[in-house]
C-alpha cells in the first residue's frame, strides 16, 4: 500500500509538472515564436496616380562632327592635338614633312609632256615663232574669229547635206521595203488581191472551157428553137411595123402569120426541156465573160501600179543622187578648209593643254609648300586618324572635330508602351544630375528601333552642357500622369521565375490571438515612377501589402507586423 500510494504521488506530481510546463510553454509560445518571425512593414494598396516616366541609359555621341580632310599625299611629321582638345579655326592639327607631294610630281610630269607636244607640233607644222605668237594670242575658244565662223558654216553645211542624203536614203529604203518590193514579190495586200482575182478568173475560164462542150451539146435543139424564135420575133416585129404603117390586107395577113409563128416559136421555146440547161449555159457564159473582164482589169491594174511605182522609184533615186552630190560637195569644201588650217588647229589645242598643265603645276607647287594641316573650324577634337610617320591619302579624313555649340546626342531603346508616355520636345532629366552641371536634354526623335522593329522604339535626345563624347548617361523623361486602381510602393514588388508578385498579409484569428500569413498575389506592372508602381492583380480592396521585411519571406510564411 505504501508503495502504491508513493507511486500514485509520483504520478500525480509528474502529471502536474507536465501539464504546468505545457501550460507555460503555451502561454509563452507566441512570444517566443514572434521573436523568430520576420518583422514586416506593410501598407494599404490604394488607387492613385503615377507620373509615367521612361528611363534609359545611353552613350553620348557628337551630333554632327566635322570631318577634316587633306587633299594631298604627304607624310606626317607630328600630331599636335589629341581627342578632347579644344581648337580654334586655323590651329595646327598636324605638321607635315617637307618634300614634294605626289600630286606635285604628277603635275610636273604632265606639264613636261604637254610642253613637248606643243613645241613638236609647232615645229612640224612649220610655224614660225611669230605664227606661234599669233596662235598664242588667238583663243580658239572665242566665237569672234573668222576661222571659227567659216569652219562652223562649212561644218554645218556638210552636216545638213549629210542629213538630207540620209533622209533620202531612208525614204528609198522605206519605199523599197514597204511598197516597191512588196508589190513586186506580191506580198502587198493590193497585189495579192489582184493576183487572187486573176487566179479566180482563170479558174473560172478553165472551168467554162471544160463544161462548155456539155452545154453546147446539151441544148442544140433549144438553140434551133431559139433561132426560130428569134427569127419569128423579128418577122413579127417587122410585120407589125408594116401593118401599123399600112393597114393592108396583105400586111394584116403577114402580121397575123408572123404573130402566130412568133407565138408558136415562143411556146415551143418555153416548153423546151432544154431550157434549163440553156439558162445555165447563159449564166455560165456570163460568168466566163465576167471572169475574162476581171482578169483583164486586174492585169491592167497591176501594170498601171507597176509603172507608177517605177516612176516613184526613179524619182527617189534622182533625189538621192542630188543629195549625194551636195554632200560630197560640202565635204570637199570642208576638207579643203580644214586642210588649209589643219596644222594650226592642233597646235592651238596643244597650246591650251600646255597652259592647263602649267596652271595645275603652279597650284600643286603652292600646295606642296604647306607644311601643316590646320583646323578649318573651331571646336573640340573628337578623333585623329593619323600618327607621326603615316602618309595621308588624298581626300582621306585626318581628324574629326565637334563643332562648337553643335551639341551631342544620346539614344536608347524603349518599349512601345513606354514610348506612349513621351513625345518629341519633352525635356529629360539626367539621373544623378548633381554630378553634371548644367546638362540639358531634350527628345528630338522617337523612331522604330531597327534592332526590334516589332516592339521597340529608339528615342534620341539632344544634349547640351558639360559633357564629352563617349560618356554614359542615364536620362529620365515623361510627365504624363494617369490614375490607376492599385498603386504599391516599388519595394513591395518582388520577382521570381514565375513573374512579378506582391505579398499581402492575411490575418487569421486563433485562440492565442491574430496570426499574420504572407499570401502571394501575382501582378503585372502597368506603370511606374521612382517610388510607386501601378499594378494589375487579384486584389480584394484595401489589401495590406508587405513593403519591407527584416528577413526574406516566402509565400505562406507567418510574419509579425512591425510595431509602429
Amino acid at each position: 500500500m505504501n508503495e502504491t500510494s508513493k507511486r500514485k504521488d509520483w504520478v500525480k506530481n509528474a502529471a502536474i509538472i507536465f501539464l504546468s510546463v505545457l501550460l507555460v510553454l503555451t502561454f509563452f509560445s507566441n512570444t517566443i515564436m514572434n521573436y523568430s518571425l520576420p518583422e514586416v512593414a506593410a501598407q494599404y494598396c490604394m488607387s492613385g496616380s503615377i507620373t509615367n516616366k521612361v528611363r534609359g541609359t545611353g552613350v553620348v555621341e557628337s551630333a554632327d562632327p566635322y570631318s577634316v580632310t587633306y587633299k594631298e599625299t604627304r607624310k606626317i611629321a607630328s600630331v599636335k592635338v589629341k581627342p578632347g582638345d579644344e581648337v580654334k579655326k586655323g590651329d595646327v592639327l598636324y605638321l607635315l614633312e617637307e618634300g614634294e607631294s605626289g600630286e606635285l610630281k604628277e603635275a610636273e610630269s604632265a606639264l613636261k609632256t604637254a610642253k613637248s607636244e606643243y613645241e613638236k607640233a609647232a615645229i612640224e607644222g612649220g610655224f614660225s615663232s611669230s605664227d606661234t605668237a599669233n596662235f598664242e594670242k588667238r583663243d580658239p575658244n572665242s566665237d569672234s574669229t573668222e576661222y571659227q565662223d567659216k569652219g562652223a558654216r562649212l561644218k554645218k553645211a556638210k552636216e545638213s547635206t549629210d542629213e538630207a542624203l540620209e533622209k533620202v536614203q531612208k525614204e528609198i529604203e522605206d519605199f523599197e521595203y514597204y511598197t516597191y518590193n512588196k508589190w513586186n514579190d506580191g506580198s502587198s495586200e493590193e497585189r495579192a488581191n489582184l493576183d487572187r482575182a486573176i487566179e479566180e478568173a482563170k479558174d473560172a475560164q478553165e472551168y467554162w472551157e471544160r463544161i462548155k462542150g456539155q452545154y453546147e451539146s446539151g441544148y442544140s435543139e433549144y438553140k434551133e428553137l431559139l433561132d426560130t424564135y428569134n427569127k419569128a420575133q423579128v418577122a413579127y416585129e417587122n410585120a407589125k411595123k408594116a401593118y401599123e404603117n399600112k393597114e393592108t390586107e396583105a400586111n394584116k395577113e403577114k402580121y397575123s402569120e408572123a404573130k402566130q409563128a412568133y407565138k408558136e416559136a415562143k411556146e415551143a421555146l418555153n416548153n423546151s426541156t432544154e431550157k434549163d440547161s440553156y439558162d445555165q449555159y447563159l449564166s455560165a457564159s456570163l460568168e466566163f465573160q465576167n471572169a475574162e473582164n476581171t482578169e483583164k482589169q486586174c492585169e491592167k491594174a497591176i501594170e498601171d501600179r507597176k509603172r507608177e511605182l517605177e516612176k516613184q522609184y526613179v524619182a527617189f533615186k534622182d533625189r538621192e543622187y542630188e543629195a549625194k552630190k551636195a554632200s560630197e560637195k560640202a565635204t570637199k569644201e570642208l576638207e579643203e578648209f580644214q586642210s588649209d588650217y589643219s596644222g594650226s588647229s592642233s597646235v592651238v589645242d596643244l597650246y591650251v593643254a600646255y597652259q592647263d598643265a602649267k596652271k595645275a603645276y603652279d597650284e600643286a607647287k603652292e600646295k606642296a609648300s604647306n607644311v601643316q594641316i590646320t583646323s578649318p573650324v573651331s571646336g573640340v577634337v573628337l578623333s585623329t586618324s593619323k600618327v607621326a610617320g603615316e602618309t595621308t591619302e588624298s581626300g582621306e579624313e585626318v581628324a574629326s572635330i565637334q563643332l562648337a555649340g553643335k551639341g551631342f546626342t544620346l539614344s536608347f531603346a524603349v518599349t512601345k508602351d513606354q514610348a506612349r508616355y513621351i513625345s518629341v520636345g519633352d525635356e529629360a532629366e539626367v539621373t544623378n544630375s548633381y554630378w553634371y552641371t548644367d546638362v540639358h536634354a531634350k527628345i528630338t526623335s522617337i523612331k522604330t528601333d531597327p534592332q526590334d522593329p516589332q516592339a521597340g522604339k529608339k528615342v534620341t535626345f539632344q544634349l547640351e552642357g558639360d559633357i564629352t563624347n563617349g560618356q554614359s548617361l542615364t536620362l529620365t523623361a515623361g510627365k504624363r500622369t494617369a490614375n490607376y486602381d492599385f498603386i504599391v510602393p516599388n519595394s513591395a514588388i518582388r520577382e521570381d521565375n514565375n513573374g512579378k508578385f506582391v505579398l499581402r498579409i492575411k490575418s487569421k484569428s486563433t485562440p492565442l490571438g491574430n496570426r499574420y500569413i504572407a499570401e502571394r498575389v501575382d501582378v503585372t506592372v502597368i506603370a511606374e515612377d521612382d517610388t510607386h508602381s501601378a499594378v494589375n492583380g487579384v486584389f480584394e480592396g484595401y489589401d495590406y501589402i508587405i513593403t519591407t521585411s527584416s528577413k526574406p519571406i516566402e509565400e505562406g510564411q507567418q510574419v509579425r507586423l512591425k510595431e509602429s
Binding site: 502504491t4 507511486r7 500514485k8 504520478v11 500525480k12 509528474a14 502529471a15 507536465f18 505545457l22 510553454l25 503555451t26 509560445s29 507566441n30 517566443i32 515564436m33 523568430s36 486563433t510 485562440p511 492565442l512
Partner: protein, 303 residues
Amino acid sequence: MKKVNSISKRHKRELISGIIILIVVGFFALVFLTPIVLTITNSFMTQTELSANYGAVFATSEKGGKVFISKIVNLKFIPDKVSFSQYITVLLKSPDYLIKFWNSVILVVPIVIFQLLTALFASYGFMRAKGRIKEIIFFLYIILMLMPYQVTLVPNYLVSNWLHLIDTRWAIWLPGIASPFAVYLLTKFMRRVPTSYIEAAQIDGAGEWQIFKLICAPLSKSCLYSVAILVFIDYWNMVEQPLILLNDSEKHPLSVFLSQINSGETGLAFAVATIYMVPGLLVFLYGEDYLVEGIMYQGGIKG
C-alpha cells in the same frame, strides 16, 4: 523421499512452464513495445537523418513520384546525433502543436467527466428500476455499445447538423457524454452491490439520493476510475469525430495532426507523438490498480 521428489518435479514443471510463458510474453511485449521505443528514440534524431532512414516511405516529388536517398528503410534506435531540435520546434517555435494538445485536453476531459456522471446516474437507475421497459432500454444500450463508431457516424452527423452543432465542440462532447460504454460497465458493477446495504439504508430512512450518494457511488469508486481511464484512452486517440465534425483545423486535436503526417514532418511527428503519449501514460500509471480491479470485477473474480 517420494514426497521430496514429487515436490522437485513440480518445481521443475513450474519452472519450465514459467520460462516458456516468459518467453512468449516477452516476445509479445517486445513486439508491442518496439514502436513506442522507436518513436521515443527517433524523436531525438534530426530531420536529415530521419529522411535518410525513412525517405523511401515518405518522400515524394511534386509530380507524385518517389524521391529518396536510399531505397532501403532503416529502423534505427540509436540516433547518429542526439538532437532536441524537434522538441524545440514543437514546444518553442510553433504554438500549433501546443494548441492542438490543449484542444485534445479540452475535448477529452469534459467527455470523461460528464460521461462518468451520466453513466453513474444512469447505472443507478438501471440498477434500481424494475420492469420490462428498463430491460429493453438496457438492451438497446448494449446493442449501441457493440456498434462501431463508423456505423453511427452518419446519423451522428445528421443530428449535429440539424442541431447546428457542426464545427463546434458540442458535436464531439454530446455524443461522447451520452456514450453507452460507461453506462454498461457501471451498471454491471452496481448490480454487484449487495442489496442488503441498500435495504439497510432504506430501513434507516435513506432516500434514493442518499443511497446513491452514500452507498452506491463510494462503492463504485474503483469502477469509476477504470471506466475513466478507459474512456480517456478511447477519446484521447479519437480521429474520425473531430475530422468529420470539426471543419476548422484550429480546433482539431493532436491526434488528427498525427494522422496527417507528411514527409517533411516525420521528426516533428515523433516528437509530438512522444509528448502525446505522456498524459495517457500518466493516467494509466495513476489508475493502474483501479483498472486491474475494474477488469477483475468485470470478469467476476472477487479480489
